[in-house]
Assembly symmetry: C2
Homo-oligomer: 446 residues x 2
Amino acid sequence: MTLTNLHQLSGHEAVRLIRDGVISSEQLVEACLAQIRAVDENIQAWAFLDPEYALTQARALDQLRSTGQPIGPLHGVPVAIKDIFDTADMPTEYGSPIHVGRTPSRDATAVALLRAAGAVIMGKAVTTEFAFLSPGKTRNPHNPAHTPGGSSSGSAAAVASNMVPLAIGSQTAGSTIRPAAYCGVIGFKPTHGLISRHRVSPLSRTLDHVGLFARTIHDIALLAEQLVAHDENDPDTQPRARIPFSTILAEEPPLAPMFAFLKTPMWQRADEETKEGFAEIVEQLGAQVEEVELFPSAQEAWQWHQTIMDAEVARNFEREWQNSRALLSEQLRAQIERGLDVRAVDYQRALKQIAPMHDSFVELFEQRYDAILTPAAPSAAPLGLTSTGDPAFCTLWTLCGMPCITLPLLQSTSGLPIGVQLVGPRGGDARLLRTARWLATKMVES
Amino acid sequence: MTLTNLHQLSGHEAVRLIRDGVISSEQLVEACLAQIRAVDENIQAWAFLDPEYALTQARALDQLRSTGQPIGPLHGVPVAIKDIFDTADMPTEYGSPIHVGRTPSRDATAVALLRAAGAVIMGKAVTTEFAFLSPGKTRNPHNPAHTPGGSSSGSAAAVASNMVPLAIGSQTAGSTIRPAAYCGVIGFKPTHGLISRHRVSPLSRTLDHVGLFARTIHDIALLAEQLVAHDENDPDTQPRARIPFSTILAEEPPLAPMFAFLKTPMWQRADEETKEGFAEIVEQLGAQVEEVELFPSAQEAWQWHQTIMDAEVARNFEREWQNSRALLSEQLRAQIERGLDVRAVDYQRALKQIAPMHDSFVELFEQRYDAILTPAAPSAAPLGLTSTGDPAFCTLWTLCGMPCITLPLLQSTSGLPIGVQLVGPRGGDARLLRTARWLATKMVES
């Protein structure tokens, strides 16, 4: 490997080379910055990027290593941060004109954990307005006339175009899985409450998750290991033992995994290429997959998700609604207006559905399945930049707080990636990554 | 002690005498039944009581002891159960005509824990309709023309009149502290989430607590030790180490406790006797008490409590509202109607106040106070049986989930008991009991 293509390294490879002294963090960051200079004009992945400051962090980490200090699991590796996570040393503007120039004084917990692991905080990746629907400036690296998906648009596009090996984003409906699928990278939304959302702009406490982006499953495991932690400032995180993602990922499954192919009522929205792609996967999996019907009690899940999101978004944007309504997008204003009308009884009724619905999924897994197999999105990235696409294939799993991963295993005839989504039961995150690795290997081999 | 006044024993004394073979559980239960025969006609504490079945339980426990089996911490001691807790072997009617003859097939978790500790489940104590406002048949043992308070009316009256040494009830606003104060017994509402509410008729997940009744603080500790447990069926309970209530209660405080006398905005409702009684206590406490103002951010707590209770009651009574509206009291119908109109944003805003408000109380305690000192109710038990009195002195602590205890330390000129309430920070339950013991001893001595 020459120094000119260091930007193509995975995070895992890069940290090993840095640890072994083969390359420096400065060389790696410089290679990524060169890639950004080369391609970002057409992609526009960054809300904030200060190349000199990124290099300053890298040199400090190189200096630390040279003094023989213990170094972290992400030592010297650049990570892109969605611009809804507070950063103490960079602006955090939430993709909204209301917060232009906002400079928080402290890091989000997730950012602090990345710094503690030795990561270079490369810059702030473009988000849609407040991680909701209204698009930012980012374009799809595979075709700039197409959306990169959202709301973690910049995170997905930056990883897809080799500007960084790793990125973090978020998901409240489909904001990690969808852009990862559209951009052709791996996106992972862990179990609800595994990763702290402290100092991350909230849409909905019940539905908000931190999401991860990388180009290898190994990197997803490496990143997840740094981020899963109890945080008393996020009441949905729990004290728990560390999850050895990389160790479990490295194990062979005791048996070949069984997949439950679950179309969900959203299947009617899937385009022909997606349907054909899944038909091929099902054929290749043979006896390892069975088609399963969604149980009736989950058919209304999309409506419950809507009710919860409406109510919680309206609550979280009370200040903006009062003080800065004219600076909110039409879409967000309509969402807040809808949410202000939600009754507390309907909101509570929707919340109450989550636990029994997840129980039904647990029963499904316990019957015989290791993961649910389902599309990440109805199609490849749609043409146009005015919408970030349809999250409908993500909604159900987000509502239930279940871990999901998308793998770029399919392609449209026009060369755009199509994501294959796997879903596991809450808490089955590491095993889901192992199952995903098995599937990815199987598909490459066949 | 002769066999005729065994009903006056505390639970702690009784269990020791049973363990030592001095008395049998059958003798104890028979003494309590005799007391019930003697006095209950005027008090009406029971929704369900089968004397023969109580004796059958007692004989079985005596039989168990005689075979040398290990016996529980409440072995052979009768406990009254508020009729909103499911019992597998007795009707559970919630004080509502809708549920007349209802016979659940399983015990509430709290009842199961009492059985496991060896208690005799004496019978079901009268509750107001669904533990809300509409009174049951129970009268105040000190004067049957006065209310016993509610909603745990039968539990408080049964303990006050020596029908049982121990009882359990509940509190959503003031339903344990108020009847305990009116009936002149000790009432204890532990920290929210310490005791499971599984299979207890719910009013409000956020506000519902299990409450305890006894005639000695020692008995409160003994009862609490059996009931505090994690229950995966009550999502607000947490895995935690057992709390050694009796051990901590037996310790001397390292320093004489400091009390924060906190009148709250409800002080204006207190009658002259209550105000004078507290003036005396404050005088006797001397340097151990300081008057403290309620911080401004808590002034609206009563409204937040109302919003949460309105919204959650409306949600919990959807079925009765749909199917049996005519069988609901006017008060409950009005409550549900109000709750149906609560907006989800207002409900969430109210919920959001709890944590910062409790943080402010924690700061107050950390400054220098062991407990807040405040009335349990505005007055002694009011004349009349159409209302169960005013919970306003309990609302704030219930909202914050803080532990509260009332001690029968004062008396009105007409001889009715007046309760003195102590409040601690969440999780400070055992220390609160120790502080209460200190205060009770101090008041008796002076």
